[in-house]
Symmetry: C2
Subunit: 424 residues, 2 copies
Amino acid sequence: MNYLKLSKTELLNLKADLEEKYSSYKEKGLKLNMSRGKPSPKQLDLSNALLTEDMGSYYAADGTDARNYGVLEGLPETRQFFADTLGLKTENIIVGGNASLNLEYDALIRCWVFGSRGEKPWGQLPKVKFICLTPGYDRHFGMLQDLGIEMISLELKSDGPDMDKIEEIVKDDSSVKGIFCVPLYSNPTGVCYSEENVRRLAAMPTAAEDFKIFWDNAYGIHHLYDEGEKLADIFKLCEEYGTEDRVYYFFSTSKITHPGSGISCIAASSDMIKEIKAHMTYQTIGHDKINQLRILHFFEKNGGIFEQMKRQASILRPKFEMVVKAFEKGFTDSGILTWESPKGGYFVSVNTLEGCAKATAVLCKEAGLTLTGAGATYPYGKDPKDANIRIAPSYPETDELETAVEVFCVCVKLAAVNKLLENK
Amino acid sequence: MNYLKLSKTELLNLKADLEEKYSSYKEKGLKLNMSRGKPSPKQLDLSNALLTEDMGSYYAADGTDARNYGVLEGLPETRQFFADTLGLKTENIIVGGNASLNLEYDALIRCWVFGSRGEKPWGQLPKVKFICLTPGYDRHFGMLQDLGIEMISLELKSDGPDMDKIEEIVKDDSSVKGIFCVPLYSNPTGVCYSEENVRRLAAMPTAAEDFKIFWDNAYGIHHLYDEGEKLADIFKLCEEYGTEDRVYYFFSTSKITHPGSGISCIAASSDMIKEIKAHMTYQTIGHDKINQLRILHFFEKNGGIFEQMKRQASILRPKFEMVVKAFEKGFTDSGILTWESPKGGYFVSVNTLEGCAKATAVLCKEAGLTLTGAGATYPYGKDPKDANIRIAPSYPETDELETAVEVFCVCVKLAAVNKLLENK
């Protein structure tokens, strides 16, 4: 059924029908949440050995007592673990605390306060701009906004950034200092960057000597299917063009073991690792090494990190498929909702009829279903089309998710019908 | 024996004697370290249950699943734990990661980047100055130096800062933005601030509206004896004068459980907590809540934090007493070494004959005994008298410590004799 072709009478009948369904949900006093990319309790249970079992030796392989102070860059085996997992070099990795977000923020702040590669600190410039791919991750936009960095919105395409436009923007304007990327299973669209686009990011000439790519590979191994998408090695490509200093690469175990208590890393060129450590040495004596060993011990005892990801996928996959199937059933050829069918990551991104995202979210909220605030996936919280909604299907259990999706579908339809009736 | 009264011949004889002893130590190929305030393995063993035992429930008292994302300011019971331990208010506490140093750095950076209390960010001012009490903590001086903040050295007196001088400095010069204080068992002198001095810090008018006291109460409960020194409540005193926004208060469990994997806190006025959180929300989703529960569970099972500190003291006390006794034996009325007899904290601060600290440290180094670099306890690493050395007796085991102190005493004497011979 194509909603756009319905007559006023048909729409009014539909509206009455939808409102009845909506009321019945409202009466149930539901408390459902699809707002954040949080693992479900069953996913968290996969790592409970971290909480109950002896963590093994507290000595690192080189004899370091992990209980005590020290080792700014993290234990050698933890750095190697991240290197092996991501196909990077051990010497280019610094291990962080429980959040790669914190490493991203600190990297941004160091550029702001101290500058990079001998260039002027960004905080001393009259204007600093970043390219923001949309829809994107609200927390990236948030930290830029807090610093007063001007955000240039560019729509993310199905194979990554619009490189023609980006090359044009960065080549002459030295105030454009960087870009945030979630290159694999992008938040929220699930887009994976093509090798060609990664190459162009590595190759492009930038007016700013200190241009930075914040490569937030948060979902780097978070495949829903055995045949995961492949991501090109940005450092290798950058080396071809002598641009390896432009990349800050981030990863964490947050959605692999427990989000509250994982470990994270930043990877960068050898020169940038030196630059980072030169300031980081005043910030901390070193992150939690016990947790580094504890998590390595856990993976060792449980078949490694990739086996863990298969266990995660087996819980997540049916949830994603349920959401997509519900959309196929309710909205194929409807004209009022489009969606992505991601092969990894944590989100299903949808676009409602223009001008209906906020209204849909309000209807959901009033029926007890919390979504990420409409607009949150755009800089300054402003979706120019008021269409994008980020669905996070991971947290609710299957029966709850089923109800949540039903409620969501009714709300999308009701908001669309209301909108369509405005013009009749 | 007063070295200053010895004749040239006496000094030369002494020198020959000392050099013989020194050579015998050198031949032993010692590897001793009194450089950093690190707990010894035996102290760390006190908390090994953290590594081997089931951590208990991973639900916070309010039902929060600590394994998942969230709770920016830390779990309510962890905030209350810090409040109870320090005599502060729960609502004024934010829990951090494994290092209070990191919280100090971040607080400084927020003032630098965003400013405080609506004043201009410090990074946008032509000149920023801090008062640095000497001898002091090298990592405090380091972070100020990295930002290019001008450090005004002021000697710490036996009951705290020289308040006459400080009041004079801060009252007219609005570029003086702050002071770092270790108010109890100060690093390295072990000085405790008198109530009168804390009151004057709270009361003093400052030209800078955004003047900050970085109150690093790192040794707040680290008493060596049952009758611990008392520290006045700076927040309570500040409330009398309406200056509570000037205090950032820091504490951690680093030297209570395991330094590498403890928990930390920052305390501040309600308005400053709001200000901190407004920016911190872009830096992290929240620190490691599992570790917060794990450490609380450990204290619960082991008689509480104050019992733990008694166990720590029973290991540390004999070491401190051994050092002080060796100094009493070797240097009473010698004229070449003065020292403090601290009642808590982690250091014994000594002053050699002027111009002998570096020479002493070099001699120690060559005999296999590592000390904190001479000068490190002063801004820019420059001790104007080249006299202060920070001794950290905590890490070596008793027999090692005995040798280390013997080596140290011989090196102090040899450096002094060499110095005295220069003028004969």
